[in-house]
Symmetry: C2
Subunit: 337 residues, 2 copies
């Protein structure tokens, strides 16, 4: 299996993507990785790998990069030589089986749609973020694939989230909720009300609206929202985690008692704080397109990138795309059965 | 000064609202409070107050209540005898100077508009939530007043937020940002782009888009978003705070080391966690209407309710409504000067 890795995306490129690739290859002995980017900058890191790994790393040279300020669909159309477009082309031509990138979220979603195409019946793709909340994992989607959603989009996100949780997390009958500004049926707007009606009519395990506070409490396996709200939320969580981290650090640098306390508490603290370290959960799958595409956070380090690569590999091994396609075709999740 | 308190709203009514009223009266010697609700249930709490406070508490009897599942504007029109409508009527007739309620957010916003009316020039009201973030206070608005916003609404929220931070927090030239799914100008949608253009043309201290992670980091004095996003976000923060609390509690119940550590760390922990305890910051002002209206969280205890009451009193003392009206009329914040 070959996975294309956009080695020039993210804040710590190419060092961390290269190190992440090496970690992933160590974990999965049948995995090969194409590192796409500036070969001169990438080579030194590849050469550090042990022989058994190095033989499974290839470099695809390019120096063109899509930046955060590039317009998503324009950059996909114009920057034909960029690491991201080259990676998508490798997947389209079946040379690679999947792609992992920490680049511009909008460009990844646009590239996935324009170059790989949507799964028949799926209107818009969604990025799913797997959150480790109380007593379960919750997939929150969309977190940035589709900024504005029609009811049908939200409905299809729920279908894809249901399939993802069944297939990859092993949840038997995943519960689904729509994120809303209140739990009562009178809340929300026309789009959310229409999506609710569609999901209620389906065979999905719909349980009602979720409020913001219900997500960390682990109310549901699947929580659905538009890409604007999901993106703001996931980044807010990241910011809260960082605030906690910096505040605790400040407390124990300036006061003696907390320092003593921290010595004893550190293991517990790390367990609790880990829940808010979304980065380590290895990337958001782009669902609804013809390929295994995983977006990793721009600030990801080697570990997170390695998790994203092995996540993409698992998606391929379990035929994630085919399973979504079959479910949509047979209408299993939308009440047509 | 008389403030109407909806004593039947919230999860701990009427006990906590009554206790909150007593605390507020102790703090503000010129304050009187009208407790609106079931007099039989309210009286026992009022009677517990010392004489100097009791003489400033009056009971306005009613048993009708607007619930969370009531449609906001319909319930305001139909439930004429509800504690919320009676409170608004007292403000409209100038009998009371302001109102505090922990009831249904939508009904409070609808009641404020229908019964008190909007400030001339203001299209839609906004609820502002004051968040204690790194090194500053940030007002996030709207958090539930106007679910769907047009560009002009977001612009006016920015104006009102600017005035609020100047007047009540003492920030000289409050910085303003629009919440968006990215910091680059290419992000967002047409509504946000149009609002950005309007705000940029004004004399406000606009500094660009804010991402979700920038809010806890204290990027700006004023952060503007639509009421759906703000509501989901503020409740998500609440949920994260609760998760942290419960996780730490679990850790130190089940393990000895954290228990020892916690003994030393407790004061620091409380300081840090306090930042996420939005409840204690005493309510969200409803801005843009002809009156001092403060919404408190449904789960608020006496302390939070007391803060909300004194907050409403401060708004009245500093002629908050007049100041917003003057600013909108003179166009100070929208570049007409």
């Amino acid at each position: 299996m070959l996975i294309a890795l956009d080695a020039m995306g993210g804040d710590h490129a190419p060092e961390e993507p290269c190190k992440g690739a090496i970690l992933a290859c160590r974990e999965k002995p049948h995995l090969s990785i194409a590192l796409i980017g500036d070969s001169e900058k990438i080579r030194p890191f590849v050469e550090k790998a042990e022989k058994s790994v190095r033989s499974r790393l290839e470099i695809v040279h390019t120096t063109e990069v899509i930046t955060g300020s590039d317009s998503p669909s324009l950059s996909i159309r114009r920057k034909k030589g960029s690491s991201l477009v080259l990676g998508f082309e490798m997947v389209r031509s079946k040379e690679a089986d999947g792609i992992v990138s920490s680049g511009n979220t909008g460009a990844i979603a646009a590239g996935a749609v324009l170059l790989l195409g949507r799964i028949p019946g799926i209107d818009r793709p969604a990025l799913g973020a797997l959150l480790p909340v109380v007593n379960r994992k919750t997939i929150l989607m969309d977190v940035g694939g589709t900024v504005h959603c029609k009811p049908i989009n939200l409905m299809q996100f729920a279908q894809m989230g249901t399939i993802y949780m069944k297939l990859f997390i092993g949840v038997e009958n995943p519960s689904v909720r729509l994120l809303c500004n209140g739990e009562e049926a009178t809340k929300g707007d026309e789009t959310i009300a229409a999506a609710r009606e569609m999901i209620e009519k389906s065979s999905m395990n719909y349980q009602g609206y979720a409020e913001g506070k219900d997500i960390p409490a682990g109310i549901s396996d699947v929580v659905i929202c538009d890409g604007f709200t999901g993106n703001v939320l996931i980044k807010f969580a990241e910011g809260v985690g960082e605030l906690l981290n910096s505040q605790f650090r400040e407390e124990y640098t300036h006061h003696l008692l907390p320092k003593v306390g921290l010595f004893f508490m550190w293991p517990a603290m790390k367990r609790v704080m880990g829940r808010f370290d979304w980065e380590k959960y290895g990337g958001a799958p782009v669902l609804g397109v013809n390929g295994s595409v995983v977006k990793v956070h721009g600030r990801s380090r080697a570990n997170a990138i390695s998790h994203a690569i092995t996540g993409a590999a698992n998606f391929i091994e379990r035929s994630g795309v085919d399973r979504i396609r079959e479910a949509i075709e047979s209408g299993i999740e939308n009440g047509n059965n």
